[in-house]
């Protein structure tokens, strides 16, 4: 890694085009959202002012934003690392549920000494997430089953399995609406608002994935299999190792995402029987990944941005009176416009392959 000014400028130029495209997308999204607010008679400028001030305006509010962002950057990795390997892995949701119930099982139902309890619960959650990714991976490698179909089905199997475990085996006695809470020894230390130290683990995982993808041979092979499978085959790279790695990394990340809402999120520290506190985080991760250009580090910033939308929305509701459904619509529009720059090449690739 030689530090050359020329190389830096080159890198800057390389990022500047996609960055400006994303910037343009943000502006377009905000404009359409403003139009929606105007149509319904709300003040868009004050609306956005409160949205951003609320989400990022003070230390404790920013921490709340980060708390919302934590699981999203991880489920984004599941999708992003799949795309990098040429896959369309949308199994984050199901793998995340398994991670969550794993964290409940070790964190809430079993007592372990304080030093290792947190680590054990986290590791078990990541393991369960990875294990849940395996069936889709093996079906793809062994039978060529398209991962879109297998992962969606596995998502639903996971949903019902985890719901069953939560209600019938891990429910808190006398409070059937949620599981046993994580024992104090299994909880990540609270940093402020509802943010805990699990964010460090999450960012750490994103960095590890980045290093794996861009600084190791396995990562290189994975990306090559994704961008140009014919060239990879010609170069003698068998696709089974990269594909399996991609699924497993995705499963680990999703499992951690699930754990982050159990042993890393006060005040509930548990899983609701409706899976409400983890639901849709896996699918949201797909949008985050697209905004972050399917890059693990980009995903961190995209997650913080979307966490800001999720948290800041209540201030728009509170101070400007924008009704909460409209807030959700505006969030959705911003996500769509941000996802388009990354989505277009994927659609184009898909159409080209279809034509061939």
């Amino acid at each position: 890694m030689i530090f050359k000014a020329e190389k830096m400028v080159e890198n800057l130029k390389a990022i500047s085009v996609p960055l400006s495209r994303s910037g343009l997308a943000v502006v377009v999204g905000l404009l359409i959202g403003a139009l929606l607010m105007l149509i319904y008679g709300y003040d868009p400028i004050m609306g956005y002012y409160w949205l951003f001030k609320g989400a990022f305006g003070s230390v404790s509010e920013f921490m709340e934003t980060l708390a919302f962002a934590t699981p999203l950057m991880l489920t984004a990795i599941t999708f992003a690392v799949g795309v990098k390997a040429g896959l369309f892995n949308i199994g984050a949701e199901g793998q995340m549920y398994m991670g969550a119930i794993g964290a409940v099982a070790i964190g809430g139902a079993i007592a372990l000494p304080a030093g290792i309890h947190v680590a054990a619960a986290t590791a078990f959650a990541m393991l369960l997430g990875a294990l849940w990714a395996l069936p889709a991976a093996l079906l793809k490698l062994w039978r060529g089953v398209h991962e879109v179909i297998s992962t969606i089905m596995l998502n639903w199997i996971s949903f019902w399995l985890v719901t069953y475990l939560a209600i019938y085996h891990l429910a808190e006695p006398g409070r059937a609406e949620r599981t046993v809470p994580a024992l104090p020894t299994a909880r990540y230390p609270v940093l402020g608002a509802t943010l805990t130290a699990v964010i460090f683990v999450s960012i750490g995982l994103c960095i590890v994935v980045y290093i794996l993808l861009w600084r190791t041979k396995l990562g290189y092979e994975l990306r090559l299999v994704g961008t140009n499978p014919e060239a990879a085959r010609y170069a003698g790279i068998s696709s089974w190792k990269p594909v399996l790695t991609s699924f497993i990394i995705g499963g680990i990340a999703a499992g951690l995402a699930g754990a982050s809402q159990i042993i890393g999120r006060p005040p509930a520290w548990s899983l609701y029987a409706t899976l409400g506190n983890v639901a849709t985080l896996g699918f949201d991760g797909i949008g985050i990944a697209l905004i972050g250009r399917n890059h693990p580090i980009g995903g961190i910033f995209a997650a913080i941005f979307y966490g800001g939308l999720l948290h800041g929305g209540r201030f728009m509701e509170y101070h400007v009176g924008v009704c909460s459904e409209l807030v959700r619509a505006i969030n959705g529009i911003i996500i769509i416009t941000l996802a388009i720059p990354e989505l277009l090449p994927i659609i184009r690739k898909f159409l080209k392959r279809g034509v061939k």
Partner: protein, 434 residues
């Protein structure tokens, strides 16, 4: 050449951004400052407005407080569970807000947490058990927090008696109950309902021996068909649970799962269409809000939990500066029910719907129609009133009189409706009543 073009584009973009930011800044700074006023904040559970039950009642109470006391209500609707704490905090951080109401038991944790952080703000919870959590977490109940709970068991006894009497009159063997998630609050409904039916059977024995038919002849522990669906939001489960109950001969099914009543209603509507009925039997019984208008003629009555009164009284107590003292004297838990008094003043919160209650709730439906633009009321207000009145008059008056008798006896304390909040009590009563 290319580089100059990029630099030019960059310069123009920066210039535009600066102009926009300055413009927005100027706009924001020239906004007039907000006038301070007395605000109450109502933080709802997931689902917010439009459930025609719990949440809508809470906002109705807030609206009435606005109208009667001149306060301003601000709403915060939780989109996901993770929103509970941030919503409560946002409301508490506003210097104008004097009362923060959390609606629903799922907000108990969040209420206990945030009430501790803001000791000079007043917090109230509807159906919450935040004080018991506070005792667990902090060792003592919080002085600025009040759990507002209701005597659902007494109201359920009233509709249980109504159901039992109707089943005897129409010679049907059962009444039914469709419950949500099995939590201790719902046990109060379940046992109260069964107990009420049992009371009705004794009443028939002593007062109307010619009605010893239908449900009277069903074994004592089999009279009520019941199930816990495990959800408060999946309407189809309501339909799936109620359909077999009606098929087995239940004359009325009690809805204790909020919106699932709409599923039960669907089951009733199917039977009505198949048999060409314009009014029940079969009936269903509404809960929380007055749901009689949802399918007029087929909802025999509703067990009203006056959540709106809870919000209203809490606001009144804050305005009268009595909130803290009442919280202290009541141990942080305010119970509203039948005949309940707070500091000598009658503050009730449970009743079985009467005709006169109907108008208020038709109004709620009219407002919901205006807000959502969708048709909510099944007919015009006059038609609805007429149908409900007709349905009520079609039932023999001794049925209504008997239920009124039970209500009077509950109010005077002559009868005690069991309040089953522990597993042992529930098991005991289930052994007797099914």
């Amino acid at each position: 050449m290319e580089e100059r073009a990029i630099t030019k584009a960059a310069a123009i973009s920066i210039a535009i951004i600066v102009i926009v930011v300055v413009g927005i800044g100027a706009y924001i700074l020239t906004r007039p400052p907000a006038k301070p006023k007395f605000k109450i904040a109502v933080v709802s559970d997931i689902g917010g407005r439009g459930d025609l039950s719990f949440n809508d009642m809470a906002y109705k109470g807030g609206d009435e407080a606005e109208r009667d006391f001149g306060v301003k209500m601000v709403e915060l609707i939780s989109k996901v569970e993770a929103d509970y704490v941030p919503n409560l905090r946002t409301a508490a951080a506003d210097p104008d807000v004097q009362l923060i109401v959390g609606v629903g038991f799922l907000l108990s944790d969040a209420l206990a947490t945030v009430a501790k952080e803001f000791p000079d703000k007043n917090f109230a919870g509807i159906d919450t058990y935040a004080q018991s959590l506070a005792v667990e977490k902090y060792g003592a109940p919080l002085p600025n927090l009040m759990d507002i709970v209701f005597e659902e068991h007494k109201g359920s006894a009233l509709v249980g008696a109504l159901g039992g009497l109707l089943a005897a009159y129409y010679d049907k063997p059962y009444i039914g109950g469709v419950f949500g998630i099995e939590i201790p609050v719902l046990w109060k409904f379940e046992i109260g309902y069964k107990w009420g039916c049992d009371w009705a059977m004794s009443w028939i024995e002593n007062n109307k021996p010619d009605m010893k038919k239908g449900i009277y002849n069903t074994p004592r522990n089999k009279r009520v068909l019941w199930t816990y669906t495990g959800t408060f939001s999946d309407i189809t489960k309501g339909y799936e649970a109620a359909k077999p109950m009606y098929a087995q001969g239940a004359v009325a099914v009690y809805n204790i799962a909020g919106p699932l009543g709409l599923g039960i209603n669907q089951a009733v509507a199917e039977i009505a269409e198949a048999q060409g009925l314009t009014k029940g039997p079969p009936f269903w019984i509404g809960v929380d809000a007055n749901q009689d208008w949802i399918n007029p003629g087929f909802v025999i009555a509703s067990m009203m939990k006056r959540v709106d009164k809870g919000v209203y009284y809490a606001t009144k107590l804050v305005l009268d500066n009595k909130f803290r003292s009442i919280a202290a004297s009541e141990g942080g838990v305010l119970t509203l029910g039948i005949g309940t008094k707070v500091a000598g003043e009658l503050m009730e919160g449970i009743s079985m719907s009467q005709l006169k209650d109907l108008d208020e709730f038709i109004e709620m439906g009219v407002t919901a129609e205006k807000l959502t633009g969708k048709k909510v009321l099944p007919a015009t207000p006059e038609e609805i009133r007429a149908k409900v009145e007709d349905m009520r008059k079609s039932q023999p008056s001794w049925i209504w009189d008997a239920v009124a008798e039970l209500e009077a006896k509950i109010r005077s304390g002559e009868v005690q409706v069991p309040c089953a909040t522990t597993q042992e009590l529930v098991n005991q009563w289930r052994a007797i009543l099914g």
